[in-house]
């Protein structure tokens, strides 16, 4: 296989990795917020259940969670796991896992907000939803952005775990080409791809941080 073909193959694989990356963020960022509400809920049962959820998601390997999400429905309910479910399982497992991490990041941000902000909003007559989305959340986002950037960069590299349930993203393709070519060249190309993508992510996040620097 010539070098341009390797590049072409891995670029195609990179698109699949980016698909995992983008869909995971699309689902886990809002889900994490909802989970953080559950974690901070005054209802003790809800907050306890969510606490266990977060503990399990953070305390077990993502690779194992992928296996459970993909094979679990069959072993538990004899569900058909063929066809598109493989990809759905990848996104589901990644989103559930990352939402747990994001939930804790949101929580740290929300709990760090001074109570005066809530009080000022209350006195001015803002509803609870307005208070959260107009006053609290924008400030929370600014506070948690560095922690979110860390997770997002980890996610780029974690996409390679999708092969645990045979979803051939970029790193898996690199391994397969390496086996066929009996060289390490595809891995070097893969490393460059990951690095460039992460560089892009870092630049975007830095830009976002700068944009939010208009206030302190």
């Amino acid at each position: 296989m010539d070098f341009t073909k390797i590049l072409e193959m891995l670029a195609g694989g990179m698109l699949k990795s980016m698909g995992i990356f983008i869909l995971t963020l699309v689902f886990s960022l809002p889900l994490g917020l909802i989970i953080s509400f559950g974690r901070m809920s005054k209802n003790k049962i809800v907050s306890f259940i969510v606490k266990i959820y977060i503990s399990v998601m953070r305390g077990t390997p993502l690779m194992l969670q992928l296996l459970v999400v993909f094979f679990g429905p069959f072993y538990l309910w004899e569900a058909n796991i063929g066809g598109p479910y493989r990809f759905i399982a990848v996104i589901l497992a990644f989103a559930l896992n990352y939402a747990a991490y994001f939930a804790e990041i949101y929580r740290s941000g929300i709990e760090s907000m001074p109570s005066g902000q809530y009080e000022a909003a209350q006195i001015l007559g803002y509803s609870r939803a307005q208070t959260f989305f107009k006053i609290i959340l924008p400030q929370v986002i600014k506070r948690i952005l560095p922690a979110v950037t860390n997770e997002v960069i980890t996610l780029v590299k974690d996409t390679s775990l999708a092969f645990a349930i045979a979803y051939t993203e970029m790193f898996t393709l690199a391994k397969q080409i390496a086996a066929k070519e009996t060289t390490f060249v595809p891995f070097i190309v893969a490393a460059v791809f990951y690095y460039i993508f992460n560089l892009l992510v870092a630049v975007i996040m830095e830009h976002a941080e700068k944009k939010l620097n208009y206030y302190q």
Binding site: V56, F71, G72, F74, L96, L173, K175, A179, T183
Partner: protein, 296 residues
């Protein structure tokens, strides 16, 4: 190995029932939120029961036939210059599908998860230089089609000439491979393996060969077909020991109860031997001296 995977999966399934329950609000699923130890055991039994109750249904024309394979296993299953999956086994599978009017789906799998993939029905068979010896009771097997042997690859400069020369050496082997099972089997070559300094497991042959070249391992155990492909593409400097670890057979592994599909594939293979397609493919992949499937 299979038992190990099963136990991991069962642990995982229990974790799964917990997490699935937590993630939902419906009262129906809330029952699953706190599995006691006993419920966990029930799950175990259920799982085993279900594994055995998948019914065997023969395939019809137009059905899909999903082959699970390790895409890092040339010449049997690997990626070609165009980035498509190919190899002796996959081309043979294609020929079977052409004959039967099935649609072939090539699914590269994580070799460690092959049993879960097969039992859950996400693949129809494992067809990928799959050694049946030692695994006779774990799958429903097709007729064996390749006489394989497990061999040792050493670097020429090492001076190792026979299996006895491996005493006190570091030997590499692919994780979950037939070679590993053989070296861990009391009735196989465990006695030989006990003379090694270390039996080192590798995820893939690339890293194993780099270590061999670097001298951090002294020999690698693998299938002879794989060994030939590796030596051919890597060039000078390596040797296969004449003394073989064993001889064994490759066959296609189906789900335990899936004799229906197995019989159909056997039938098709015999026809492919008769019309010469089988031999032609064996020659194309340079393993004509190893194939063993007869028309009768």
């Amino acid at each position: 190995m299979k038992k190990k995977i099963l136990s991991v999966l069962l642990a995982a399934a229990m974790v799964g029932s917990l997490t699935v329950g937590c993630g939902s609000n419906s009262s129906e699923e809330k029952k699953d939120t706190a599995p006691t130890t006993e419920e966990g055991k029930e799950t175990t039994e259920e799982t085993e029961a279900k594994t055995e109750t998948i019914t065997s249904v023969a395939k019809k024309e137009g059905d899909t036939f999903t082959v699970g394979f390790d895409a890092e296993y040339p010449p049997y299953g690997y990626m070609d210059d165009n980035g498509d999956y190919t190899g002796f086994d996959l081309e043979l599978a294609q020929a079977v599908c052409d004959l039967k009017g099935w649609k072939l789906v090539k699914t590269p799998i994580a070799w460690d998860s092959k049993d879960m993939e097969l039992n859950s029905g996400s693949i129809d068979c494992i067809w990928n230089g799959f050694t049946m010896n030692g695994r006779e009771d774990d799958y429903t097997w097709s007729d064996p089609y390749v006489d394989n042997s497990q061999v040792m690859v050493v670097s020429e400069s090492s001076g190792i000439k026979d299996l006895a020369g491996l005493s006190g050496k570091i030997v590499g082997v692919q994780a979950s491979s037939a070679a590993l099972e053989l070296l861990q089997d009391e009735e196989g070559q465990k006695k030989l393996a006990d003379t090694f300094a270390t039996l080192q497991e590798f995820p893939d042959y690339n890293s194993a060969f780099v270590e061999l070249q670097a001298g951090s391992v002294d020999a690698i155990a693998m299938d002879v077909g794989v060994a030939k492909y590796q030596l051919e593409t890597r060039g000078e400097g390596y040797a296969i020991l004449d003394e073989e670890l064993n001889t064994e057979k490759y066959a296609i592994g189906f789900r335990k109860d899936d004799t229906g599909t197995r019989d159909q594939v056997n039938e098709a293979l015999k026809e492919l031997v008769k019309d010469g397609t089988f031999t032609k493919l064996a020659e194309k992949y340079d393993i004509a001296d190893m194939v063993c499937l007869k028309a009768e």
